[in-house]
Amino acid sequence: MKKFEKLTSAVVPLSIENIDTDQIIPARFLKATTREGFGDNLFRDWRFDSNNEPKPEFVLNNNAYKGKILVAGKNFGCGSSREHAAWAIQDYGFDVVISSFFADIFKGNALNNGLLPVQVSDGFLADIFNEVAKDPQTQLTVDLETQQVTIDATGKSESFEINPYKKSCLLNGYDDIDFILNQKDLIETYEENRPFKY
């Protein structure tokens, strides 16, 4: 898995709430059997019209906004469990998603791929959107070690939560399978002694 330590980057603002994984990557693009290439269809129906022409009003088609941090409204990633959503965001070039609330499954999927979900307060999220509206080049710094996200221009900063185990996975590039595979004996012991065997 990809490591994550610290990132300073401009951001792409998407101030819409309840962005579901069908918007992130529509079901008709889930037919690939590898993890690569989903970035081409990230936000497909918001990004392109029915003739596959880019919609100029959509933020990913606006050259003013470039960066490795996606900032979105609350309840980001709700709906389908498709991990393709996390793959698509990462494949497009984002390393961090910031929102004031994440859906559970999306958050887990992101963490399992080294895409860092950063949950901030509603107020701090509004601050980010305001700063980016004033200056599209606004840079943020996300530091996983110290669990801080900072708006560089104003110095305004907020800390974010992350499970300590997941944090160490990201910092070191380990995944859950490496961790559990080392406990196979315990699993077999459990299977023999469990309270009720199906």
Partner: protein, 465 residues
């Protein structure tokens, strides 16, 4: 110590609990399908490891499959490749597959229960968010991502933090024309599409207890639509009665042993939930959604809420949803024209759903301009419908009975609703483009959907029964 049902099942499956780490949770049953498994199988190949417990893994092809001419090769190349890949992977890794053509094939959340694979007290996962359906049996069942599918393949375990618990009680008697789908759409409309996030929900109360197993599945199925990790209902006589005699259910002495254990699966009287919500069944009328998330639902006779009634920060998203749907503030939905009716999906494609629709449409006919697709949840449901003559009722009504699959719930196959068209759908999501690019979805119960099919417009089904 008093425990909730979720805690009882969870604790019985903890392989290892360590301070500062998520629990290692043992998974009894892993259901897989063609869309979210290929990358996980690939992961095993890269690591050079097998599926650890292939006998606890069951596969079917559902998301991608056509619902017409299933005996012919799949026309669409990418879909065919994905389904073929599932066949190849299952063979290579020794996993049982109920693929196209198999009498047990169907939507993964329909076949688990009907085959007696879904049982009380189990932990069950699938790379699909509607895995919560199986919670209707008093199982901990939830959707996972593909990395976790690989994790379960490799170890039959998941690393997970214990979820918070919420109890949602619905008490009283449901009114005429109101069913399980209305209950769950009502709850989600009250607590929003994110209101259950972080929780595992136990549904309880007299209105829930009075539901059949299939109706309970409809309720638990949509737990994810309020953001919940999963939903479940304590098993009771209704549950045991449903399971007994099914293909893979425990038999003879095993049954007695299982039953004794299952009877211990309930939340203790004074068990503490992190949140408790209570609703009255009498307050629920037939429900329908007007927006682009399942929380945007109203009683069928209500008007669309005004944008200004929404919290300030949500007004832009709310307006965007209404624009997408072609609706305006304060409008009634009743009388709005409908183009398509889809009765199917893991929410409402079981035999009881088809029976309810058939009973309603007997001696009626669909409106001329409406296209009606009935997609049974499984080959077994399809066979049962035919055995009962339900297919003839549908034919006479102008409803098209198709073959099993996820179909127009997510439009991965060719069953798509055209841009701009309105579809009353018994599925679970009304997201933008869910049923096809720019398609407009209104979620409702099978009865409300059938009423729209007959009148050609949004209709209060209570006026027709």
């Amino acid at each position: 110590m008093s425990k909730t049902l979720v805690e009882k099942i969870w604790d019985a499956h903890v392989v290892k609990r360590q301070e500062g780490f998520p629990d290692i949770l043992y998974i009894d049953t892993h259901l897989i399908h063609e869309v979210t498994s290929p990358q996980a199988f690939d992961g095993l190949r890269k690591r050079g490891i097998p599926v650890f417990r292939p006998k606890q893994t069951v596969a079917t092809a559902d998301h991608n499959v056509p619902t017409l001419d299933q005996h012919l090769p799949i026309k669409e190349e990418l879909s065919r490749y994905q389904v073929d890949m599932l066949t190849k992977n299952c063979k290579e890794f020794g996993v049982e597959l109920y693929g196209l053509g198999h009498p047990y094939q169907g939507i993964v959340h329909v076949i688990g229960p009907e085959l007696g694979i879904t049982l009380p007290g189990k932990t069950m996962v699938c790379g699909d968010s509607h895995t919560s359906t199986h919670g209707a049996f008093g199982a901990i069942a939830f959707g996972i991502g593909t990395s976790q599918v690989e994790q379960v393949f490799a170890t039959q375990c998941l690393l997970l933090s214990k979820p918070k618990t919420m109890k949602i009680e619905v008490n009283g008697e449901l009114k005429k024309g109101v069913g399980a789908k209305d209950i769950i759409l009502y709850i989600i409309s009250k607590i929003s599409a994110a209101g259950g996030t972080g929780y595992f929900v136990e549904f309880a109360g007299s209105a829930i207890q009075s539901l059949s197993m299939e109706a309970r599945m409809t309720v638990c199925n949509m737990s994810i639509e309020m953001g919940a990790r999963g939903g479940l209902i304590a098993p009771d006589e209704t549950t045991f009665e449903y399971i007994k005699g099914r293909e893979f259910a425990p038999k003879s002495e095993e049954w007695d042993k299982a039953l004794a254990y299952w009877k211990t699966l309930y939340s203790d009287n004074n068990a503490l939930f992190d949140a408790v919500l209570t609703y009255n069944a009498e307050d629920i009328e037939p429900m329908i959604t007007y927006g682009t998330n399942p929380g945007m639902g109203i009683g069928i006779t209500e008007n669309i809420p005004a944008t200004t009634a929404q919290p300030k920060s949500e007004q832009i998203s709310y307006q965007k949803a209404l624009d997408y749907m072609g609706f305006a503030d304060n409008e009634p939905l009743i009388g709005k024209p409908v183009d398509y009716v889809f009765i199917g999906s893991c929410t409402n494609s079981r035999i009881e759903d088809l029976r309810a629709v058939a009973t309603f449409v007997k001696d009626k006919r669909k409106a001329d301009h409406v296209e009606v697709w009935i997609v049974p949840g499984s080959k077994q449901v399809e066979a049962q419908a035919k055995a009962e003559g339900i297919d003839k009722v549908f034919e006479a009504a102008g409803f098209q009975l198709r073959e099993p699959g996820c179909s127009a719930c997510l439009g991965m196959n060719e069953d798509k609703i055209p841009a701009g068209k309105y579809c009353v759908s018994t599925s679970n999501r009304n997201f933008e483009g869910r049923q096809g690019p720019n398609a407009r979805t209104l979620l409702a119960s099978p009865l409300t959907a059938a009423a729209a099919a007959v009148t050609g417009k949004i209709t209060d089904v209570r006026e027709l029964i």
